[in-house]
């Protein structure tokens, strides 16, 4: 349990190794974010038959850096009617949780051999922190991230940012429930909250030695899909980007922001995208696990990091793909999807996994168990549909009375 680095007391080497890990995590996240901005613009450009950024550096790779520098030197405007302190605080509240959330992601380490790497003669995890409540820490950070958006909207002292902020709050709070419930399935199956342990549980071969033992398979695909959808909504990315619907809200919660404060929001948004992809990989796709071979440093250092980054890029592409393909949802569709589809489905799947687990532990008859599960599912779905119909009838009746 816990990082072996801290097992033998805290010395100078331990502090230096930790500081190095902080630096590497920080730089990795920043570089990944920079790359993600470029990647998104380039891929979306390809999907729309445009060229995209191609001036700064090879293939326009340095475009983000150029944009960042430009924003840094722009005038920093403070609206007259703004709440000065909160207006300045909001971008920081958006960016700091985005940084912290990435700290719990295991970036490398060969999990068939304990998941540790050797650094200056010390064994350690290749992740900044492995708190025993790691997954909850991520949820807590995304919960604090809401404040950045919400307070930015309120403190601007103008109408459209306020509307954007209110939309963002409603959306993020709604989808956090579905996100947490799909996470619960992973926690149930793996029996741990620590991200390192979750990855360790997924190491090794599963059915038939070919299909990997990833949570994607073990939890039965549904939680992974719910997590991906709820995660996209949580990030306010298309098709769930009602928060910054340009046609309706000018620019959304960040309309009044300029210069480096705007850049911080932009940075936080893309950092959260990278973190969310990294978490999908960690929770459902075995993190850095994959086939490894070769001598010592290649086997424990190169391949796990390579697999992790490869899986990460796949999900970054998926997020860009969503953006390039799907039209934005209407507000009522957004709420219907969250409350009437994703939350019941995630909760039901969680209970199903729990039932299967109990049945297996107690040695119950499989046929009877599955029969009972089918009956319960049919009854539950019918009841849910009936209640939704009744609510709709009521709403229509109310509308008629009012009309």
């Amino acid at each position: 349990m816990g990082d072996p680095l801290y097992a033998g007391g805290i010395g100078l080497t331990v502090v230096l190794v930790t500081l190095l890990k902080v630096l590497v995590t920080f730089v990795l996240l920043l570089v990944a974010t920079m790359f993600m901005v470029w990647f998104e613009r380039k891929i979306v450009a390809d999907m729309q038959h445009r060229i995209g950024p191609n001036r700064a550096g090879p293939w326009g790779l340095l475009q983000t850096l150029a944009d960042g520098t430009k924003l840094f030197f722009k005038e920093d405007l403070l609206p007259d009617r703004a709440d000065r302190i909160v207006f300045r605080l909001a971008p920081v509240l958006a960016v700091v949780p985005a940084f912290l959330a990435f700290a719990i992601v295991p970036i490398g380490g060969n999990f068939a051999e304990g998941g540790t790497v050797s650094m200056f003669g010390r064994e350690t995890f290749l992740q900044l922190a492995d708190p025993p409540v790691g997954v909850l820490f991520f949820l807590a950070m995304s919960g604090i991230g809401v404040y950045g958006v919400m307070l930015a909207g309120w403190s601007s002292g103008s109408k459209y940012p306020l509307l954007g902020g209110v939309r963002a709050t409603a959306q993020i709070v709604s989808y956090e429930a579905a996100l947490g419930l799909s996470l619960a399935s992973v926690i149930l199956v793996n029996g741990t909250l620590s991200t390192h342990q979750i990855v360790a549980e997924q190491a090794g071969a599963g059915f038939g030695g070919i299909i990997p033992n990833w949570n994607l398979v073990v939890t039965g695909v549904v939680p992974a899909i719910i997590f991906l959808i709820a995660g996209t909504a949580e990030l306010n990315r298309p098709p769930f980007d009602l928060v910054e619907a340009e046609q309706e809200l000018v620019g959304g919660f960040n309309t009044e922001y300029s210069s480096i404060r705007f850049a911080l929001f932009f940075l936080a948004e893309f950092m959260n995208t990278v973190t969310m992809s990294a978490l999908v990989v960690t929770l459902f796709l075995g993190g850095p696990s994959g086939p490894v071979w070769g001598p010592e440093p290649v086997r424990t250092w190169f391949f796990p990091i390579f697999w992790f980054l490869l899986k990460l890029v796949v999900f970054l592409f998926v997020f860009v793909w969503f953006r390039g393909t799907l039209p934005r949802l209407r507000y009522d569709q957004l709420m219907d999807l969250g409350w009437k589809a994703l939350i019941p489905l995630a909760l039901g799947w969680f209970l199903l996994l729990g039932a299967v687990r109990v049945a297996r532990n107690e040695g119950w008859n499989l046929v009877v168990t599955f029969g009972a599960i089918t009956v319960v599912v049919v009854v539950a779905v019918t009841l849910l549909n009936l209640s939704l119909r009744a609510a709709q009838r009521q709403r229509l009746a109310d509308a008629e009375v009012n009309a």
Binding site: A82, P132, A140, W154, L162, V173
Partner: protein, 166 residues
């Protein structure tokens, strides 16, 4: 435990100042933000005593959900920037009395339950495991836990009924 004691003092001081500002500030959104500081202080105190799960849950539930909903409600109804004059309530002395009584009851319960036992002798000096929390809830305190859930469910349904009837 010296370092823990010093940090307990610092965090407790910040919490008390923030708690006073919650009721004295003239801006209702600022009051909610001061409340966030108080709740974050509670989470920090939990983590300081090695109760990581309870600390993170405190952030998740109170900061990430309850105060967010407070602010949401404020923004939908009265999102004015700057000073608001009429935020003082006439019954504030009664509220103060209730708070005082609540404080007395809670401190009595705490002192009565733990007397002068120290944290390391209760927890064994190691951080509390999440499984210990769940074992306590679902074995020793199952009935109170179910009663609390039932009460919350009833309150939830009641709130929906009240809101629907306008």
């Amino acid at each position: 435990m010296v370092a823990q004691n010093i940090f307990f003092g610092i965090i407790a001081f910040v919490m008390v100042v923030a708690a006073l500002r919650v009721v004295t500030t003239k801006n209702i959104v600022h009051a909610a933000l001061y409340l966030v500081i108080v709740l974050a202080g509670v989470a920090a105190q939990f983590i300081l005593t090695g109760a990581e799960f309870v600390g993170v849950t405190q952030i998740l539930v109170y900061i990430g959900a309850v105060v967010v909903l407070f602010l949401f409600g404020i923004m939908l109804t009265r999102a004015r920037i700057g000073r608001e004059v009429e935020v003082d309530n006439e019954k504030r002395w009664l509220a103060g009395l209730v708070a005082l009584v609540l404080f007395a009851v809670m401190s009595f319960a705490l002192v009565d339950a733990f007397e002068d036992s120290r944290i390391e002798s209760v927890s064994g000096g190691t951080p509390q495991l999440t499984s210990e929390v769940s074992d306590a809830i679902f074995k020793d305190y199952l009935i109170p836990f179910e009663a609390a859930s039932f009460l919350l469910l009833a309150a939830l349904i009641g709130a929906i009924v009240v809101a629907r009837r306008e």
